[in-house]
Each structure stands twice: as C-alpha cells, then as structure tokens.
C-alpha cells in the first residue's frame, strides 16, 4: 500500500472497538425488565426467528431469577450471547415489541438477553439441562459456526455422540471471525463454543472436510451428517486492477480485525469499499475505526435498494463514511499498488425479477476517487465447489443446498444442512434456528425403524 494510515494508541483502538450497546447494570436491567408488559403470546417472541420466550425470560430478570432466565433463553437458542449482541433487533424482536405501537421506546430485549447470559457465564455455566442417556448413534457436524453449534448441542443433549469437524484453528465460524468487534469479541463466541463442548461434543479443529478427510469417510463413520459450512469470500469484481496490492476481500480483512491485534493491521489512509450490504458497512466502519482518514462506500444502486439495515447505514454515517450511490467501479488504478478507483455514474432502470431497479451506466460519466485500499464486499460466494462434490446433494442456482423445510434433510437422506449454506447468507439467529431444527430432523430420521440405514 502506498499510504498506510498511521497506527493508533492501544487505548484508542480499545475505545474505537468498544461495545456499541454497553451492558446493563443490575439496577438498569431490572428497571427495563419491569417496563416489559409481559405480553401473552407476545409479538416479540413471534418475531424472533428462534422464538425465544422473551416475556418469560424478561420477567425472570425482574424477579432476580437469572438462572431461570438463561434457561428459558437456551431452551430456544444455543448461541444467545452472540444473538443478544449481534442480532438486527430493530427488524426482529424489538421491532415487533408492542411499545412501538404505543409510540414508546421498545423494550431493549437484546441487552436484557445479554444481561441474563453474561450472568450465566459469570456464574460458571451451571448445568441447566439434563443430558439424556446414550443412544449409541453418532452424528458428524461439518462447521462450528452457529448452525453447527446449535445442531451439536441439541443432538448431544438427546444422547447422540457428536463430532464437529472445523477447518479453522479457532472455532465458532463467523461468530468468532466475522461479527464486528464493537458488537462482540471473539471471546464471547468462544464461551458459546465452550458451553456446547461441555455437553460432550467432540470438537476437532483444523480439519478441512473435502481435503484429507472426505465426506464419504464421514458418511461411513457416522449415522448422519450435518453441514453448516457457511459461505466463502466476497466474489471477484472482475475489473482491471484487481490484482494490485491494496485490494483485499472483505472477509479476509474482517477476519484480521477479529484477531484484535489491531496494531498489526495495515489499512489505507483512503479506503473504498465496494458494495452496500451489511458486510460492506462492517468493513467500512472497521477500516475507519482502525484509523483510515477517508472511507467511501461505492454502490451501483441508490440507498433505497441497498441491502444494509437502516441502523447499519446510520452507524456508518455517524462514523463519517461517505456514500457514493449510483456509482459503479470501472477499474482500479495504480502501479503495483492501488492509487485510485475509476467509477462510472449510474441511473436506475426497470425493476429486475426481485423488484430491485436495475442500474444503467451513464456513458461518459467516468470519474476517479483517489484511494489507497479497495475492499471488495459485494456478497459472499457459496461453497459450491466443495458442496457439488458431495454425492446426491442438490444445490439451487445460487449454489445453496436444497433441504426439506421442516426436517432440513438434503436430497442425500443421511445428510442435513442449515445456516448460510442453505439460505445464501442471513443472520446468526437463522443459522441457530436451522441447526436446532435439523437436530430434530436427524433424530427423527435416525429413530426410523431402519435406523437411517
């Protein structure tokens, strides 16, 4: 890189990546819990993709039954700390809270959940559930992201022998490696991994399935398999200059930020992030918080079409990120390293098949933004090159694994799947739900008279 942003003081990094939503104190938690109306068949519970019994866990906080509160949460969700900190609550539970209809502030469900779960970990994870006796069947789980963890926890408690195979040295999937540090730190994710392991789940790291160990080996070894392999890196932009030094993939960049070795990360003085999804926002705000002077988000369409959530957009604006809407990168300019990005102005045309209006280039509208770094964040590729080698698995045209909506069984009866690899990239909470449901699908399958054979 030509111009590297100067390094910050350690305290400054800590400050920049400190909690977006600070924890409740005991008093503030109880006060907020008491504000909850204890709705019956509550709209917040329905809006939660894992259907946590929110009014019940909040009521338990108000009475000081914190262990019971954690138990209520775990009954529905195995990664509640991550969810508490990283869920887009505005569009989920908190967005459905009845207080919105009263024109009052919704209950801060995420922060209350965090309060209950952090207390649970502080208390040293006392046992909440009874583990059923051994069934004598084993399940292999590929990937230790939220989908894999949820599936493993549920199966282990039902009495299955569960082995997780994780390619990475440090487990947890994107909970560990993806979610912005000002939402949650790696150690939070690792606590949730530790809890799942405490149910007797065997976690094997640094095993990339498909390389030395094949899926067929696992199929021979286990009675069923669960795939929670998530997605991959951001796709190529396929424009000239992509090979220049200073062009990086968003996932790679974010993963480095998640190591929390902030001093060692090189970030350009001026950074362009291509794309306007939630990952783009994360990459942009993280670059800014690492010390970049100017961070631009470059997006082909307008703010209306962008897939980032409203609150993420607001966060980026607060961080001083500059948005170039209706702008498409044409080429990355530079000799050896990035010096600028040439863009083209766009206008919106007819809606495409998803109803999003198509961007059309305005000829002769080229202009160049001088930058030192380009972060590619136009989505995530599916793991189709790996998935397509698995026998009898069917993928849709996007490369997502096709599963039965209730059992999560793939077209290979012994294989189940959930999380980003079946939905193309949603939220942690969806992966957590899939994993849990798939565990029941697997249990149902393995309980068949033929035992799944």
């Amino acid at each position: 890189m030509k111009n590297i942003a100067p390094k910050l003081q350690s305290e400054q990094y800590e400050k920049n990546f400190s909690d977006l939503h600070p924890p409740f104190t005991q008093n503030s938690a109880v006060t907020e819990a008491n504000r909850c109306l204890y709705c019956y068949d509550s709209p917040c519970m329905k809006a939660c993709p894992t259907h946590i019994d929110i009014s019940t866990f909040i009521k338990k906080i108000s009475t000081g039954n914190l262990l019971g509160s954690a138990k209520t949460i775990y009954e529905s969700n195995w990664v509640p700390l991550t969810c508490a900190k990283a869920c887009p609550v505005d569009v989920l539970c908190e967005g459905a809270c009845v207080y919105n209809d009263k024109e009052e502030k919704p209950i801060q469900i995420g922060r209350l959940q965090r309060y209950a779960i952090e207390n649970y970990f502080e208390k040293g994870m006392p046992a909440l559930f009874h583990k059923a006796s051994k069934i004598g069947k084993s399940v292999g789980v590929v990937g230790s992201g939220p989908a894999g963890l949820a599936c493993s926890a549920e199966l282990a408690l039902m009495g299955y022998e569960v082995t997780i195979y994780e390619a990475n040295k440090i487990p947890g999937g994107l909970n560990t490696w993806g979610i912005a540090p000002y939402k949650m730190r790696r150690e939070d994710s690792l606590k949730e991994v530790k809890l799942v392991k405490s149910f007797g789940v065997d976690l094997k790291t640094e095993i990339m399935i498909g390389k030395t160990v094949k899926v067929d080996d696992l199929l021979n070894k286990h009675d069923a398999l669960f795939l929670g392999v998530g997605l991959g890196e951001s796709p190529q932009l396929s424009i000239p200059g992509e090979e220049l030094s200073g062009v990086v993939g968003a996932l790679d960049f974010i993963e480095k930020v998640k190591t929390e070795n902030w001093h060692d990360i090189q970030v350009g003085k001026r950074v362009a992030v291509i794309g306007a999804g939630n990952t783009s926002i994360d990459a942009a705000t993280e670059a800014k918080r690492l010390g970049a002077d100017q961070v631009y988000i470059i997006y082909r369409r307008s703010d209306v079409e962008m897939s980032a959530y409203e609150f993420e957009y607001e966060l980026a604006k607060r961080d001083g990120i500059v948005f170039h809407f209706l702008t498409s990168p044409k080429q990355i300019i530079g000799k050896g390293f990035v010096e600028g990005i040439e863009c083209l102005k766009m206008k919106l045309g007819e809606p495409d098949k998803w109803g999003r209006r198509k961007p059309i280039p305005i000829s002769g509208s080229e202009f160049t933004i001088p930058v030192d770094m380009v972060i590619k964040a136009i989505g995530q590729e599916t793991k189709s090159s790996f998935l397509s080698t698995i026998s009898k698995l069917t993928l849709d045209e996007e490369g997502c694994v096709i599963v039965d909506q209730t059992t999560y069984q793939t077209t290979n009866p012994k294989i189940f799947a959930g999380g980003d690899c079946i939905n193309g990239g949603k939220e942690v909470v969806n992966a957590a739900y899939d994993g849990k449901r798939a565990a029941h699908g697997i249990d149902k399958f393995l309980s068949l008279p033929k035992g799944g054979k």
Partner: protein, 439 residues
C-alpha cells in the same frame, strides 16, 4: 379565582396541605422551610415522653421498579425534649401567623400529666392540638398511641382530660388497626374533640431479606411490626375516612391522611369529606417541593371544573358511598375493545381466559392476534380493561336501557313477598327473564 383556604374546626390555613406529624415536621428548621415552599400547615412531630430511637428504622416496599410504594417505620415520637420542641413551636408560629401550626401530643395516661402538657402547648401560641392515638409500635407497648386508639373507653377518657383544659381545637388522630373505626371516633366526639384525623400507620412487616433471613428493617438481627404508610395505604385510608365521614354520630371535621402524594390524591380525600389533608411519606421521598404541584394542580383542576372554593366539593362523593345490597343488579356493562388503539399484547385475553369468564377470542390476523369480546358471555367485570396497558382502549359500556332496575335488597324483599325462597333455581329464573346468562 380559586380559593384553596380551609377552616378545619377553627384551624385555618391558606391551603389544605399540611405536613403530617412525622419526620418532616420534626423541627423549626423543617417546618419553616416547608412553609416557605407553600405548605398550608403542619402537625408538629409528636412530642411527649422521653424516647430513644433505634438507628435503622425504615423499610421500603418497592414495586416493579417504583421505589417506596409503601414505607414502614419503627420510629417513635420526637426524640428531642419537650422544652426544645415547645420553644421552636413558639418561634415558628410567631414567624408564620397565617399557617396552621398544630402540635401532636402523646404522654403517659395520667390526668395531671396531660393537663400540664396541654397547657404548656397552648402557651406556644399554636393553633390546635392533635392527640396521637395511633403509633402502632414502641409507644403502644408503653400504654400510649395505638393502645389508646384501639380501646374507645381509653380514647374517651384521655380526650376528656385534654378537652377539659384546652382552649384551642383538639383533633383526635385515629389508628387504622381496629375493626370498627367508628367506635373510637364516636368516643372522641363524646369527649368533646373538635375534629378527627386519620389514618395513622398500619401494622406491618415490610419484608424479609432472602439472603440473611432478617426482617426489614433489621435492628441487630431483630425486627418486628412497624407502621405502614405511603401510596399503598391510600385505599385503606379512603375507606376509613368514608366510614367516619358518613357516621351521623361523629359529624366532626376531618383531616385526611394516608398515602397522599399529589393533588389528585388530596382531592379524593376532600371529596370523601376531609377538610385538610396531611402528608408524610411523599415528603420523605421527594422533599417539601412537591407542594408546588399540589397547590397548582388542585387550583387548575378547580378552575377547569368551575369550582371556586373547596367547600363546594367537600364530601361531594360521600352520598355515593353505599351498601352492596343497594346496587342495581341489572345495570349491565360489557367490555368493548377499540381495535384502532389495541397494541396486541393479549393481556386482556389471558386475564379473561384464566381469571374471568373466558369470553375474549384470540384470532390470528396478519402476524398478530386480534382480541375480541364475545359480548353475550361478558359479565362486565372490567378485569380486561384494568390490565390493558393502553389508555381508553377497552371501555366498559352500558348495554341495558335503564328501564329495569333491581337491587339485591329489593329482590330478596320481592321473593319474600311472593313466598319464593332464595334458591339457585329461582335466581336463575330472575336472571333469565332479564337475559342474563352466567356460564
């Protein structure tokens, strides 16, 4: 212009708001500060026998994050000598001639002792005397306070000792810890008291510490009953006030006390017959400054209703205090939900389903539940409207046309006339005739 001034048995004050005899009215400093902020009067913290307080003496009842919904105390009367108090009372009255300064007294049950304290008190120039027959702890064990208030004969005897020498109005302050409040009130009247005040605090244990098993407040490992006051006691105070106010044998001015925190509470006491109102816990919680809103809020309310003096509203609701047997059994109300206002919390549903008459239907409609009352089954108990968190969302509407009316007393009378015994069958026949079906 609204005039808030009152005259309670000859004791006048520019507004009805008095400090109750309690910690806020303990000293000249406090009472003068209260007057500066607008309080109309004070009942000086009870003076009398030598006492010594324990250190930890209050316990608070918090409810859903609201602090001091109720307050319990094991405090005694003034722990400063009589001389000091009398000197400060005289100074205070001199400085504040237009405010009511009433002095609360409690001494041992000896005629001479009472004569002496009454005379010395009158010498301060104060406007009246209040006899503390209510203190439920500490003093009662020594034969004073509630020990007097609970026995009408003692109440009468001691009040006579006071009235036979007093040249200023005498108020008798009653304890609520008695099954029939009218008896001590009548005793006070018979003994020549000029007014009644009520209520003093209610016997209570405020709570137990679940970690240490100690009572609250905890005094070196021990605890016991104390006196309960604050917002939680208001309904009890209102009831006892009404009982004394409607008793023709009493017929005395009343100073209302118990859980008054604002002008709304105060108005309720006045509507049930109180001349002045006294406040303790609310001041202990927030300080004297609350009187500003009390005066302003009450004046604004009076103005908006077209009243100019408190005499126009005093006792206005008393005529409505009546017995169950005179209530109209055919005055039918049912619940109706305003679907525009509903926020879909479903609290009305679960309340009616689990605790009333199972007549609210839940039907899923685009992502939420619609709650609807099955009107023919609704018994009009109003529970749903009480739990509904949205103002005016569930209203109780009257559905009978008023043409038929029957009270329980009339019904039993009518049955008797027609030689019908009061049986479930005969009652059902009556209900059926009026289209009432209870499942």
């Amino acid at each position: 212009m609204v005039d808030l001034s009152i005259n309670c048995a000859g004791i006048k004050s520019p507004n009805p708001f008095w400090l109750a005899s309690a910690p806020p009215s303990n000293s000249a400093y406090q009472n003068c500060k209260a007057f500066e902020q607008g309080w109309g009067g004070t009942v000086w913290k009870t003076i009398g026998e030598p006492v010594m307080n324990v250190f930890n003496r209050y316990g608070g009842l918090d409810y859903n994050g609201q602090k001091i919904f109720g307050l319990n105390n094991i405090e005694l009367i003034s722990d400063r000598p009589i001389e000091v108090n009398l000197k400060e009372i005289a100074e205070t009255k001199k400085l504040w001639p237009d405010r009511a300064v009433v002095v609360s007294l409690m001494v041992e049950s000896k005629r001479e002792t009472w004569h002496e304290i009454v005379k010395r008190t009158i010498d301060t120039g104060c406007d009246g005397i209040e006899l503390n027959y209510g203190c439920p702890h500490g003093m009662s064990e020594r034969g004073m306070g509630a020990a007097v208030g609970q026995v009408p004969e003692y109440c009468k005897m001691i009040t006579e000792w006071v009235t036979e020498v007093s040249t200023i109005p005498v108020i008798v302050k009653l304890t609520p810890n008695i099954s029939n409040i009218q008896l001590p009130a009548r005793a006070a009247k018979a003994a020549g008291a000029n007014a009644i005040s009520l209520i003093n605090t209610i016997n209570s244990i405020i709570g137990i510490n679940l970690d240490t098993f100690e009572l609250k407040p905890n005094v070196g490992g021990l605890g016991g009953h104390g006196g309960y006051a604050g917002p939680a006691v208001k309904p009890i105070a209102l009831h006892l006030l009404s009982q004394v106010a409607i008793d023709p044998e009493v017929n005395l001015p009343i100073s209302g006390i118990g859980g008054i925190s604002n002008w709304r509470d105060a108005l309720e006491f006045i509507l049930l017959g109180a001349s002045s109102v006294q406040v303790c816990t609310a001041v202990m919680h927030y300080g004297f400054r609350i009187v500003n809103d009390m005066i302003e809020g009450m004046s604004n309310w009076m103005e908006s209703k077209g009243f100019t003096s408190l005499d126009q509203i005093r006792g206005k609701s008393l005529q409505r205090v009546n017995d169950f047997g005179n209530f109209d059994l055919l005055n039918r109300t049912i619940a109706r939900i305003d679907q525009q206002k509903c926020i879909h919390c479903n609290l009305c549903y679960i309340a009616c389903e689990d605790a009333a008459h199972q007549c609210i239907d839940l039907t899923p409609v685009n992502g939420h539940n619609k709650t609807e009352v099955r009107e023919k089954d609704c018994v009009g108990c109003a529970l749903c409207s009480l739990v509904c968190p949205v103002e005016n969302c569930i209203s109780m509407v009257r559905i009978d046309d008023g043409s038929a009316s029957k009270t329980w007393n009339q019904l039993t009378e009518e049955f008797k006339r027609n030689g019908k015994p009061m049986t479930w069958e005969n009652l059902a026949e009556f209900q059926k005739k009026h289209g009432i079906e209870i499942h």
